[in-house]
């Protein structure tokens, strides 16, 4: 399963292997630079009466193909972190690098696939037309769009709903469309901002498994914001535990439970041990 590409995927926007850190004039072994690197990143908002320190001195490195969860309570700046990485907002101070380049370059190269808490689909477009939206923007070859979108819908078992409008789909279906919309043009980095938090428990579990399957097949680098401890441990290689006021990283846990993961794993002592550890870290 791993590595097989979706049908109708013309390797468009394939960015190739990331440039390894080549530090000139430094003869020693090349330092493995992380795929996404944040150094001393801070973010302050100026609201009407006071300054809000949304993030304070965040250091984080994410490797290529890694699945990292950002876990924390409301107001810890985890959503802001995604927006900083994807160049939607600039940091107040600090440096962010994507493959050694600033986020603006990565955004211009359309390397980010964004999924929000709400599906944020266009109500006047059908499911397949919603997935086509980014393909129109990135000038994906017209003759391949249809096949690409159908393959994506098929991968989340929604092919027979391709001509349905968002209001005709359930919450879980809409979110599945939103996820494959973010994958449509083969962006190497998938950014998800609490994508499942509005869904019921059962749908949520299903979509987590869907997501893991897509992720392992398409080999994305994934950043996943959540406030659910078990969701973070279930999905991620590493869990970045954050705390609020000001938002900062408390600890980074590396559960790295064996993959592929399944429902049964949720009852294993290993899984419970990590969720307990994450909970204690959040509380402390």
């Amino acid at each position: 399963m791993e590595g097989t590409r979706l049908q109708g995927d013309p390797a468009f926007l394939d960015h190739g292997p990331p440039p390894r850190a080549v530090s000139e004039g430094e003869p020693s072994a090349p330092v493995a630079r992380p795929y996404i690197a944040l150094e001393q990143v801070s973010l302050r908002f100026q609201s009407e009466h006071r300054q809000v320190q949304a993030l304070s001195d965040v250091d984080l490195g994410v490797d290529e193909g890694e699945f990292v969860a950002l876990l924390g309570p409301t107001g810890c700046g985890k959503s802001s972190l995604l927006r900083l990485i994807s160049d939607l907002i600039p940091p107040t101070s600090g440096v962010i690098k994507i493959r050694g380049e600033p986020p603006s370059a990565a955004r211009q190269a359309v390397q980010f696939g964004f999924v929000f808490q709400e599906p944020a689909l266009l109500p006047w477009r059908t499911a397949i037309e919603n997935i086509q939206l980014p393909l129109e923007v990135v000038n994906y070859p017209i003759e391949q769009r249809q096949a690409r979108c159908q393959a994506l819908l098929d991968s989340v078992r929604l092919l027979k709903f391709k001509d349905a409008y968002p209001h005709e789909l359930s919450g879980g279906m809409k979110q599945r469309v939103a996820i494959v919309r973010a994958l449509a043009w083969n962006a190497p980095i998938l950014l998800m901002d609490e994508p499942f938090s509005a869904l019921d428990e059962l749908t949520r579990g299903q979509l987590q498994d869907d997501l893991l399957q897509i992720w392992s097949r398409e080999r994305k680098t994934a950043l996943f914001v959540t406030h659910s401890i078990s969701e973070a441990v279930y999905l991620a290689d590493r869990v970045v535990v954050m705390s609020p006021h000001p938002g900062r990283i408390k600890t980074i846990l590396s559960p790295g439970l064996p993959r592929p993961r399944s429902e049964d794993m949720r009852e294993t002592p290993e899984f419970l041990r990590w969720t307990r550890m994450a909970r204690e870290t959040l509380r402390s």
Partner: protein, 262 residues
């Protein structure tokens, strides 16, 4: 969401069309009988049958009506195009919003009647000043509603578009304008009837044709039956434009409304 299915098949004719016509028939019948019973003079209140007869006999009616419609339509179209364009500018530029919006409000605050003499001095007694009046009077609702509609676009979708490096015009065309369509058609509904009012009022002041002129002359000559004919024609024009844009508005917002009621 919908009413339970009754045994009898729903009938549009019976449920939607028949009731207002029944009421109309009752009112007209009562009117006709009252005029006949109290022997009211036709200059005071003509019977509906007299009005209908006048409607058929007045051969110049369609000429006057056509002229008024052309004025209102031309003014409305000018406002629709320039208003939507200006709104697109306002939605994209803080400077434009702050600089222009006060004057949009001023354009609404000045009573339109006060401008008619001025425009007549400048542009004469022809069709041009009437078109301008129609354009000015319908401008405000179009700009305010379209601007609101453009801003109503889903913030997340716009953020998504930014994250894939979409240009401003792509965001405008693919996200903001479609989101604004229900608002735009709603404003057209208001603007079209205002344009009609503008045309008639402008014709009151300076004209020798058009429905406004016909109203003024029939009033001064106490031809009350013709006055009623003009009013009925204007009412029908207003209802027609209201129904057209109301239909487009519903069509454009169908998906969203259903989503909201879920």
């Amino acid at each position: 969401m919908s009413a339970p299915i009754a045994d009898k098949a729903p009938s549009r004719l019976r449920d939607d069309i028949l009731p207002p016509f029944l009421i109309l028939a009752v009112v007209l019948g009562f009117w006709e009988l009252s005029v006949k019973a109290f022997d009211l003079p036709p200059w005071l209140l003509p019977a509906p049958s007299d009005v209908a007869a006048r409607f058929i006999k007045t051969t110049t009616l369609w000429y006057h009506t056509g002229l008024t419609v052309i004025e209102a339509l031309a003014g409305f179209l000018i406002s629709a195009v320039s208003g939507v364009l200006l709104s697109a500018g306002i939605a994209h530029s803080r400077f434009l919003e702050r600089g222009v919006f006060p004057y949009v409000i001023v354009s609404n605050a000045i009573p339109i009647i006060a401008i008619i003499p001025l425009l007549t001095i400048w542009f004469g007694f022809g069709i041009a000043p009437k078109i301008m009046i129609c354009a000015i009077i319908s401008f405000f609702p179009i700009v305010t509603n379209t601007t609101r509609g453009l801003k109503s676009a889903d913030r997340r979708v716009i953020e998504f578009m930014h994250s894939i490096n979409a240009t401003r015009s792509e965001i405008l065309v693919k996200v903001q304008l479609p989101s604004a369509l229900p608002f735009i058609f709603a404003s057209f509904k208001i603007a079209a009837s205002l344009a009609l009012v503008g045309a008639v009022v402008a014709e009151f002041y300076s004209s020798d044709n058009g429905l406004g002129y016909l109203i003024i002359t029939s009033a001064t000559q106490l031809r009350t039956d013709l006055l009623f004919v003009c009013i009925v024609v204007l009412a029908m024009l207003g209802v027609a434009s209201f129904m057209l844009f109301g239909y487009l508005e519903r069509k454009a917002s169908r998906g969203e409304q259903i989503e909201e009621t879920r």
